[in-house]
Amino acid sequence: MLKIRWLKIIRELQSNKARTLLVVLSIAVGVFAVGTIVNSWIVMLNDLSAAYLATDPADAIFNLEPFGDDVVSAVEGMREVDSSEGRASVVVKLDTSDGEQVNLNLYAVEDFRQLKLSRMTQETGDWPPLRRQIFVERSWADSLEGVAIGDNVIVEAPDGREYELVFGGLAHDLHQPSAFVSDTAYGYVDLDTLEWLGQDRTFNRLYITVSENRLDKDHITAVAQDVKERLERDGIAVRSVTIPTPGEHFATPFVKAFLLVLGFLGIFSMFLSGALVLNTVSAVVARQVKQIGVMKAIGGSNIQITEIYIGTVVVFGLLSLSIAVPLALLGTRALSDFYAGAINFDVVTTSIPPVVILLEVFVGLAVPITAALIPILAGTRMTVREAISDYGIGSDNPNSLAMRLTSGRPGIGALALAFRNTFRRKTRLALTLITLTLAGATFVSVLSVRRALYTSFDEVLGYYQYDILTDFSDTYRFTQIEREAQRLPEVAAVEGWLAVGAVRQRPDDTESGSYQLIGIPPESDFLDPILTAGRWLSADDRDAVVVNSDFLNGEPDVQVGDWITLAVDGDDTLWQVVGTITTQYNPTGAVYTTGEALGRQLNLVGYANQVAIRLVDGSPEAQKRIAPLVEERFKNAGMLVGRTTAISDFVESFEARFNLLTVFMLMMAFLLAIVGGFGLAGMMGLNVLERVREIGVIRAIGASDRQVRRIILSEGIVVGLISWVLAFVLSFPLSKLLSDGVGLAFANEPLTFSFSYGGGALWLGFALLIAIIASYIPARGASRLSVRETLVYE
């Protein structure tokens, strides 16, 4: 036979469905937020890392002059090298199905099935690509919408000739940035097809893995150095060496930045949910103090009574878990699929990791039980008289301040009652305020971070005072470039730049990764960098350079005034750092010098391999329209064009990255707003429930429904307003902290702080809306009860 005690638990839950729902949802929100966040965190990091390692990523990638199989075998023969592989990489142009052209980085090997390192895998079609077939990276599938396997696609080779290739299917390549963040597509052909496209049947990329210490970047760097020396001895020029962070997908820092925000919100949600649960559960139990007294009067021991209420809370917790655990799994899927899609990997983990379950149980059971224990223990320790006494209408006294503020003033009536009521339950008020304040402060902080992201972004944009940048595959006299460009009436101004890859020779004899060394006219107004130290270039500089913070992240020892050695095409050049500038959010650092200084070093004075163009109309549409015309112009003049970038394209891909972060932040902010709403609704509901008798008395002495409702609504609004003020104040330090954190994780540099006053105003609106909704429901309930009902209410 079911014990009466358990019966009591079940009946309590049933007879107070609205309250049960409120408590269950309060707990569920916390379980959901924590579950989703922690689960996504684990799933994303694990699956990205697992998928990446499964491709056998190369430890170092060399960009070389053309070479053949003999070089590959020779390098593989080196003791420190485990395996090596050659690949051909060439940038062509692909006609997309919407009639545009995109740059397509084409990779070619003899047989993709034999690929050992940094493998790509088949997504659709029959891998590997056969003669005259092309596979395209899957994240670019949208660009080939409507193109079926077997259909023809048009590819424009570097010499400007067009070829028809058969679309073989999609491949998945984890080693390339996805369409979401990159404006270059990736494609795969075999060497026969490459030859047919008019290219040499040679490699220009060498992939290696080292034999030992594969996770030691210094070791890999040292091995790469040996390989480089060996290659140079064999007469093969090394253009650049890339050493990815060992064992880590290149998007990992981005994922981590995102996870940082996620983790921050996760911890907040846990606190929020804790406060909310503490509030609701303890109020539920506190309301039962009289029943606790009665049960003690009829012989219930402390343990028996505690059991009943813990039992009730366990049921609350289990109900919440049964709702929130599956929802958190769905949330995890939605969240991680979205981000995995943006980064271009697949989430394969479908199970919930045990730690996540543990955390969910902790939030769903341990927190509410702890919350309930406080009033339960208080209730069992009270004497029966204290527990069941009804001394007057309510036994707590209003806060004396609230009393003083409102007493003795004529005409304040109902409002004074609302104000005093609000302060009557101090602990509950405090917890509700904490919930709402945390929710509000997080909401405003998230919006501030979003704003800071866009402010930083605008700064980066301000940096680019030109509209189109064309890279040439060769160097040309600047006068020729300028003449060709100026033939287009849309072009307002032109600058020729010289950009080369450079490797820093560090004082400790190691080498850095590859940086860009760019020679520009010192008086150039095409760039508007923000100096962080030192000065900008001037016309009479001979060997001065300015470095950006992306460079400094790799070379933290470099300071203004230092001399640095940069290897360009194998030759060491010596430069003095005269200034540093803020990040451009580029993956590679940049070193700026005057065009003349670099030209002299390279014997290319008066030459350029990049042209920056400012248009008469710099709108994104104009940029997009004119970029191909510019390219056409240069090609017609017989110049080899590598790629042409409209700055607006860059802006868009940049924006996409930021949106990825902020979309989620906004989602969380709204979730927090909802949690806060629950908190207030809970508090108002409980306050009203507790004072049903008092409300009955007010009505018995002549208060109208509207007056009763107004008292309760004013109470809610008072709380909403107080929480808003607190949230607003708290959101300043919080915003700063969060935006610094995101910036550091995202670009190794705090974001330019920008407080979102709009967000503050928006939260004011929300807080009031929440307050009104949260108190309207109990207010309506209270005004519906008849006086008789309220007076006998138990």
């Binding site: 009946r11 007879s15 009829i298 012989g299 219930g300």
Partner: protein, 266 residues
């Protein structure tokens, strides 16, 4: 009588921890102070009271005189500020809240003015709950016992209703049945008829008289002088003190100074 055959037994035959006193209930020098906003307020002044087994005692006095406070001391519902309460040899004032509850479950039945039935349990379940708490009677027999007790208070047909569906008088009879659940030797009631019309009050009072006749020791606070006249002995509280003046209890002598007499008179 069926309520006398429990393991508990009645009054004196109980636990054997008697202190040598022949009184079932003994209050020695009880003082109670309440902390109020206006400073401490003494509700009971140095009260001595002895109640023998099987007595039916009424506590009477004006509103605010301290009747409930005094009763609460006996039932362990509240703690004295000073003095001792010894019930059936147990120093109640020394028990912790938890021990007190368990002690009460077996030895004392409480009836409140506002019934205090648990609203989410049916009438029968309300009566079974004390048995469950005390672990008395086999779980399967508890319902049968609850029904027997309901029969006693003439409410068997209401067994499976919720308290809210019952009238005040019916609820109070359920509360009495609940107080009898574990067959305690002592019943304590604070204005059990205070909330009822006089006809219903009469019926409830009859019930108490029957229980007293069966040997229960009953201590009852009442406002109703007429009813008070029907009990074996009345104790008057005036401003927190027991007074010597004769009271209209239908006895010649003030009962509080002649407990032995009251016992003998039965």
């Amino acid at each position: 009588m069926f309520w006398n055959n429990s393991k508990n037994g009645g009054g004196f035959t109980g636990k054997g921890i008697r202190t040598g006193s022949e009184y079932l209930i003994e209050l020695n020098g009880i003082t109670k102070q309440y902390e109020t906003a206006a400073g401490p307020f003494t509700a009971l002044h140095d009260i001595d009271l002895r109640i023998g087994a099987g007595e039916f005692v009424a506590i009477i006095g004006k509103s605010g005189s301290g009747k409930s406070t005094l009763l609460n001391m006996i039932a362990g519902i509240d703690r004295p500020t000073g003095g001792e309460v010894i019930v059936q040899g147990t120093p109640v004032h020394k028990l912790s809240e938890g021990q007190m509850a368990e002690w009460r479950g077996r030895n004392l039945g409480i009836i409140f003015q506002f019934f205090q039935l648990l609203p989410t349990l049916t009438v029968a379940e309300n009566i079974m709950l004390p048995m469950e708490f005390a672990g008395l009677y086999a779980p399967k027999q508890r319902r049968a016992r609850a029904l027997e007790l309901l029969e006693l208070v003439d409410l068997v047909d209401q067994a499976d209703k919720l308290p809210s569906a019952l009238s005040g008088g019916q609820q109070q009879r359920v509360a009495i049945a609940r107080a009898l659940a574990n067959d305690p030797p002592i019943l304590v009631a604070d204005e059990p008829t205070g909330n009822l019309d006089s006809k219903t009050a009469d019926a409830i009072f009859d019930l108490f008289e029957r229980l007293a006749a069966e040997g229960k020791t009953i201590v009852m606070v009442t406002h109703d002088i007429e009813l008070a006249g029907r009990v074996g002995r009345a104790v008057t509280v005036v401003d927190g003190e027991l007074v010597d003046e004769p009271v209209p209890v239908g006895l010649d002598m003030p009962a509080y100074i002649a407990p032995d007499y009251a016992l003998a008179a039965r």
